[in-house]
Symmetry: C2
Amino acid sequence: MQINIGTGIVNYPMPVALIGTRKDDIDNFMTAAWISMVSHTPPRIAITLGKHLTSTNIHETGVFSVCFPFSKDISKADYCGTVSGARINKSNIFSVFTDKTGAPMITECGLNVECRLHHIDKNGMNETFIGDIVSIYADETALTDGRIDFTKFTPLILSQMDTRYYSLGKNTGKAWNTESPMD
Amino acid sequence: MQINIGTGIVNYPMPVALIGTRKDDIDNFMTAAWISMVSHTPPRIAITLGKHLTSTNIHETGVFSVCFPFSKDISKADYCGTVSGARINKSNIFSVFTDKTGAPMITECGLNVECRLHHIDKNGMNETFIGDIVSIYADETALTDGRIDFTKFTPLILSQMDTRYYSLGKNTGKAWNTESPMD
């Protein structure tokens, strides 16, 4: 039976990433989970944030990264979502590399996305930063034939309403494959 | 070692939902995975689509639903992402209910979100439909203390680059809980 549970945050399984920014030579990483691809051509990804050092940094520098950690780094990832970069310098938590934009990416992450801000869509107290994807880096151990493979890359997933992380489970089937609803 | 894999779609774990629309008394459901919360107050969710019957319907009616199936309904969910509603009438695949907006929601889904279109953000060939969340419905078997519980609700997750579905795995820890990166 369907029950009306009101309105508010929708508790779908959210991908967990660290949003990287660099300002005044200090790298900052903030954990975020409101993330979505928003364009195929040109490739763009969107991240939605509240008011944080990260959003200030993106406004000022116009670049950011979206770095998806391996689930084994759950403590470091969670720390970056618990403690503000306005209070604590998080630049030494991870090993950092950069490419074209200068946005800091994380050597220990399975998947890193370098972005140049395209525009901002404002909704209430939140800002959605839509970025052009400049480059994608992946750890070699997370790849099969040059593509991210979730049997090798073990991302973190957030259940926001009860603030719990989940791992990804098993491969359950091929997508875009069902020609009849009774297959 | 980090490897540059170019640019394009970022293969993070994507939540799988059925986007519900109703036009001329025909319900349509399209599988989509580019989904994100974008506002806390007022609560808003964003879905990004290419050109489909669903996007045309949202333009014309101003309402839509975001319905997250249980993983056991993988075949029906995949079918709705394989076959176009412009060609096939999908109105009898699921048992449908409505509330305030008339957007069709799915009795068999674990989580249903009723939305009223707020605005559209265009990116290339894609449109991001940002909707005010009017109501959230959940199947009673998916809830603990009135909240979605991923140990009960088993959503589908998409690995887009290799077109595979995954289940959600185990609870791996409490979020917003780490006061030291070495915890």
